[in-house]
């Protein structure tokens, strides 16, 4: 088909690393037609980002590639093979024929130039005769078209004056300004909150409908794929394992891997049932009780501080799992850190295991520490890279149980690793030799080492691929049922929280706007924010997602009215 805007044939990419050659992409062929949104999905390391970067010739120097990546201009009058063209020609292709939307909008924009200047830079790079005033007019025009309100003033704003979602709109404007036929969007919504994600997805859909642009969408989020993609390419270990129309793929996945991937996506109302789990004891003294809790971060000299948590009250009963959901900046992580004594409480009361955290002294809280476990978000940095997994997991014993001998500790660690389903041999390995999911399980083992009454899990699965996330969640549910600890489970993902929690609290701007059981909060939300949050969550089913999209549009229209 000569109408295709992008044609990749038998692409191979290899990297030179310290360990020798490493192959990242292995014989990938795919095509993107005019006005088509093609999603490339796969877990991290599957080669999807490398494939996308090849389209713009953005591979690092350590990479070598073979095969053909033919990009055609929108009019179809030029076509060029990105892999073999000269550097000059490549510069023309970038921007004119294909452009890119990056994952992190805050780093994709240069903080010391106005957004208008940055948009005009692209224009001037491709047309040096362009007048300054003309470039400005075009920048204003494109900003308006991507939905930045009041673009005549905003064109002179610096990136930090925009919110995250607006920054992503500016990045998309920069990609659109030269009117390319193809946009490569690498995880364009991963760094954004769910409600903002929905808006950006809408904008990308408009790119196709109004600007007639084709889009290559790289993502690991099946909900995003269902929302936007016309066609889906599933990559696994550098190869394309399945390719189909979006609806057909979601309805009847053919390849085993695709089935697994779709099955692992968490859905609302899908809680994991654990046999003979002790019911939370709501009559007993609560493990954690917050009353009108305030936490303020100190501001700069002469400025008021930032109120991260603003009058929050909740309680966690023994054996109960409380899920805390909210967007970034809503104060959910701050609450978790305050319970663990990592952040100072500035007002109200926070009782943790009978100790008052407002004005607590480290020395008096040390006893309680052995009864609290903590699982951190980032599996990459939660272990000391120089200690073996065994030493890391053994640390709680070495700190709190001075009476235990080395042999006893070793036996206990082996037991713990078994409980989180890590092979015994992993005890002697170093953290970097484990995958993200394995490290997160070891982290869970460390958190549970002293058989705590309370476990705080701060986004424990958000850095993991869906298939790994599923297993970590299952493990968490099993261990919770078995050991009966109370838990505060913090996440931005409603579906994940719903799977594990007895009760859910939704946070927004430092306050709890709604709380109750999963069925209450997610089945019949009363707060407008919860309603919008729920409606914004894309589901991995194109047909259902279309219905939800209209529902969301209605909610937003109602809010505006």
């Amino acid at each position: 088909m000569s109408n295709d805007i992008l044609q990749i044939t038998d692409l191979n990419v290899a990297f030179s690393s310290d360990a020798g050659a490493v192959r990242a992409v292995d014989g990938v062929s795919l095509t993107v037609g005019q006005r088509e949104v093609v999603a490339i999905v796969g877990e991290s390391g599957s080669g999807k980002t490398v494939t996308a970067k090849t389209i713009l010739g953005l591979l690092p120097e350590t990479a070598t590639s073979s095969g053909a990546v033919v990009v055609r201009s929108r009019e179809g009058d030029r076509e060029s093979d990105v892999i073999s063209v000269s550097k000059n020609r490549l510069r023309q292709i970038r921007g004119d024929d294909v452009s890119m939307v990056f994952q992190e909008p805050s780093t994709a924009l240069n903080p010391v130039f106005t957004v208008g200047w940055q948009i005009a830079e692209g224009l001037r790079a491709h047309n040096s005769k362009l007048k300054r005033s003309e470039a400005r007019t075009r920048a204003i025009d494109i900003l308006r078209r991507v939905g930045i309100p009041d673009p005549e003033t905003r064109v002179d704003y610096f990136p930090h004056q925009f919110s995250g979602g607006q920054k992503q709109r500016v990045v998309i404007a920069m990609a659109l300004v030269l009117d390319p036929g193809l946009i490569v969007a690498d995880e364009p919504t991963t760094a954004l909150d769910v409600t903002v994600q929905a808006e950006i997805l809408d904008l990308l859909r408009r790119c196709r409908d109004e600007f007639d642009t084709s889009i290559v969408l790289i993502t690991h989020n099946m909900g995003v794929v269902a929302d936007l993609a016309d066609r889906v390419v599933v990559m696994y270990q550098g190869e394309v394992v399945e390719e189909n129309e979006a609806r057909a793929l979601f309805a009847s996945p053919k390849h085993d891997y695709t089935k697994k991937l779709l099955g692992a996506v968490p859905r609302i109302g899908q809680s994991i049932e654990v046999a003979d789990r002790r019911a939370p004891d709501r009559e007993a003294t609560p493990i954690v009780e917050a009353t009108d809790l305030h936490i303020q971060y100190p501001g700069r000299l002469g400025r008021p501080g930032f109120m991260a948590v603003d009058g929050v009250s909740f309680r966690i009963a023994p054996g109960e799992v409380l899920g805390l959901v909210g967007e970034s900046g809503s104060g959910k992580t701050t609450i978790g850190r305050a319970i663990a004594g990592l952040t100072r409480v500035t007002g109200g009361s926070l009782q943790v295991l009978g100790a008052e955290m407002n004005g607590v002294k480290e020395r008096s809280f040390k006893k309680q520490r052995s009864r609290i476990g903590f699982v951190f978000q980032d599996p990459a940095s939660s272990f000391n890279p120089l200690l073996s997994i065994e030493d890391c997991v053994a640390e709680p014993f070495r700190v709190h149980r001075r009476d235990m001998t080395d042999a006893q500790i070793e036996a206990k660690v082996a037991e713990l690793l078994e409980a989180v389903q890590l092979p015994r041999a992993y005890a002697k390995r170093f953290p970097h030799e484990l995958s993200g999911g394995q490290r997160q399980r070891a982290s869970l083992a460390r958190g549970l080492a002293l058989d705590p009454e309370l476990l705080i899990a701060d986004e424990p699965t958000s850095a993991l691929d869906v298939s790994v996330q599923e297993r970590v969640l299952e493990l968490f549910a099993e261990l919770q049922g078995e050991l009966g600890f109370a838990a505060l489970f913090i996440s931005h993902d409603l579906a994940v929280v719903d799977i594990l929690s007895d009760r859910i609290a939704v946070m927004y701007h430092g306050r709890i706007v709604e709380d109750g059981t999963g069925a209450e909060v997610l089945g019949n939300p009363t707060d407008p924010y919860t309603q919008r949050l729920l409606a914004s969550l894309p589901v991995p089913d194109p047909a259902e997602q279309e219905v939800r999209r209209t529902a969301l549009a209605a909610i937003i229209a109602e809010e505006r009215a």
Binding site: A14, A21, T64
Partner: protein
Amino acid sequence: MTTQTGTPRRSLLDRLPILRQLRQSYGIQRGMLIAGLAITIVFAIVAIFAPWLAPYGYAQLSDDNGGFGAQQPPSAAHLFGTTVGGFDVLSRVLWGAQTAALVVIVAVVLSIFIGVILGLLSGYFGGWIDRVLVVICDAIYAFPSLLLAIVISIAISGGRSNLIGGILTAAMSITVVFIPQYFRVIRAETVRIKAEAFVESAKVLGASNVRIMSLHVFRNATRTLPLIFTLNASEAILTLAGLGFLGFGIEPTAASEWGYDLNKALADVSSGIWWTSIGPGLGIVLAVLGMTLVGESLNDLNDPRLRGRRVVAADSGEMVETSVVPAVGTHDASEGDNDDASEGERQ
């Protein structure tokens, strides 16, 4: 999957700082490192075996055949000739390597301990102790280092002294200049590591500050030390030579010192006597060059972005098992290994 491979445990040989980089290096970086190492090793050998290598003692003025005579041109008896004071130049140069090496070792050992401890405390606790220490270090930076060294050398020993005293004086004056460097590097690393999740995790466990600092922070903060160590060693030689050249070094009868010899050779140059300055000058240049080459190439090799690598063919290399869903079709409970070898594509 039972055939878990993972990254094999590295042998001790691979983990030693300089040897590991030597194996990783490639192309021109490797050439620089090897040249630097070769020069430095020769310097070390000369320093250790100076008593056997040198034909005469450093303060020897005569042998069985009578006095050496002053400013004698190179001959079979005196390969590099003799100095204005009547010493054998070659012997002075060889013995000078020993003095230089001793000063480097004492200076670096003294400054590394104090600098590292202060840096750890300052970075970990922050607050007023941090502010005071940083201001002091900045103040020391503001002085020309040689001037500072002169002042301290005068303060300690009145300017001149015997072997031990002279070496200690020179070393301590260098130490004062170096402590801020170690302090800064360790403090910066400590501040970074303090924010890592594993330090917070230890805090949540209730580990003591001493335990966190020694086990978690210190061991992770020392990665750049070999680098500053080599760069500082070369600077120490320059400072020592500078002190000697200006007359604040060690008495010629107490030890041989290149800077002092250069100073004494100053007048010879204009009267056509070239051999007295070449020896000590070359000694300084080569010792500094060798250590700087090692330091600079370690710096490049430590940074994966600067490290050169062999170019690979497009269709070469194994597909690394990066997947977490092990080999489709063969359903198995365990996860595949997530190898960091694919770091390239995560950039």
